[in-house]
Amino acid sequence: MAKDLKEVKSIDEIKDLGWNEIIPGASLFSFTEPVENVVEVPEEERPYAPTNSHEWQVGDWRVEKPVYNRDLCIDCQFCWVFCPDISILSRDKKMIGVIYEHCKGCGICVEVCPTNPKSLLMFPEHMDNNEALNMWPKKEEKK
């Protein structure tokens, strides 16, 4: 009998499965237990299966990372709605930060940010976020 992927606890465990342990048909599950109405459950409370890409990361794709400056943000949610990678964490209509595990560094959030100066800016991947915040530019004069 195939190992039930729902019982697999970690990503590493999946990698070691033999042909005899995988689910027939290569079906994958999103959660380890039933979630009655998923839209009512925020991601931090979901019983994600290790087979859910939420549990994986693509942060290493980035060359530059978006850094978020709370002091300037007006919580307009443009970054949230246009982020292709569900990497803008927003709760109760407030922008909280960037999910770096899932952010591929596309820079859309920075482009769509309407504040002046912007509340999100791209910085080199290796730079410390506090250092980046210290380097934040001043308000740009309208040309």
Binding site: S30, P34, T51, K93, H102
Partner: protein, 332 residues
């Protein structure tokens, strides 16, 4: 059940059912569209996806990026897949054999929404037969075409959605060619002519317009077609951060007009009214040239010998914009 979304802040309360760490390119519009569609409803959603970028990047064993049930069969059959899931749902509902959690949602007025996603290759070309059949049969589902005007998944070949002058890997611009020779196929009208109750064209950059149309689509019974502009950083060759800007240029130049066609039907399904509504009018209609200039796939058109194609583009866009406005005025 229609989800109330007054503004973007309210929309941001949505808990996504599409997950990160998928393998789509940075800056891909497909993801933005999928999020906007799924977040447009709080009802359960079941998804079918055609072979294409979205499929190969969101369900690569052993991981899935979907928190809704999802199926992929092939390149050309997303429509029949969604349509048959819809039929299977209705059979099980009629027989009283739905799984308990699903039955509970239905009892609360939250009917599952069945959505197919496919690219323009899977829609305009290889999947057209299956799409046409499913629409003619009138199944209750929504079909969203992620229209990036190119076979992106296989490396940028032309499709029948590729616009004139675009350089693709099978319609390359060269010393004696300006690239793609054909005008884009008018998919929205073709699908409206199937008698579908609701058909619309959307852009992810105009999120509110998109969400509203998806919600309208979910409210009608029958097949709904949504043609979504999907700027492709890889094949349109713009920078990933420019996805939304390029999309806006398309909308504001009227290259990608936002409109809907509503076929109103009586209780026998006879269409008694067809209405085309333009849902967005740019305040300043910008020249097509600005849209083309933002995308290196059109770079060669700016050579002197190809300038006439830019003129042709402008003429085509103006004519079409005129046509849409006249239809809207005439109420047909």
């Amino acid at each position: 059940m229609v989800k109330k979304i007054k503004n973007l802040k309210e929309f941001s309360l949505s808990n996504d059912r599409f997950e990160g760490a998928n393998l789509m390119c940075p800056g891909c519009s497909h993801n933005i569209i999928v999020r906007e569609v799924l977040n447009a409803t709080d009802d359960p959603v079941i998804v079918a996806t055609a072979t294409g970028c979205l499929e190969v990047c969101t369900a690569v064993y052993p991981k899935t990026s979907w928190d809704v049930s999802w199926i992929h069969i092939g390149f050309e059959n997303a429509a029949v897949a969604a349509a048959t899931v819809s039929a299977a749902y209705e059979v099980m509902k009629k027989k009283g054999k739905l799984p308990p959690a699903t039955q509970k949602m239905v009892d609360e007025g939250k009917e599952p929404k069945i959505v197919a996603f496919a690219g323009d290759g899977g829609t305009y070309d290889i999947g057209f037969q299956s799409l046409s059949g499913a629409f003619e049969r009138g199944h209750n589902f929504m079909y969203v075409c992620l229209d990036n005007e190119v076979y992106a998944n296989t490396g940028g070949q032309r499709s029948s959605s590729t616009p004139i002058g675009a350089s693709t890997t099978t319609s390359p611009a060269g010393s004696v060619s300006y690239g793609e020779k054909m005008m884009k196929k008018s998919m929205v009208e073709i699908m409206a002519d199937h008698g579908a109750p609701y058909v619309a064209q959307v852009s992810p950059s105009k999120w509110k317009d998109l969400v509203k149309k998806v919600q309208k689509g979910f409210e009608v019974y029958g097949p709904v077609y949504i043609n979504a502009q999907s700027a492709c950083t890889t094949e349109w060759k713009h920078a990933p951060e420019d996805t939304i800007e390029v999309s806006d240029l398309g909308v504001d130049s009227c290259v990608w007009p936002l409109y809907e066609i509503i076929n109103e039907r009586d209780e026998h399904g006879i269409i008694y009214s067809t209405k085309l509504n333009i849902t967005y009018r740019p305040k300043n209609k910008i020249p097509v040239e600005e849209y083309l200039a933002a995308q290196p796939r059109f770079r060669h058109l700016f050579k002197p010998e190809n300038r006439h194609i830019i003129d042709l583009w402008q003429k085509a866009v103006d004519t079409r914009w005129e046509y849409l406005q006249r239809r809207e005025e005439a109420g047909v």
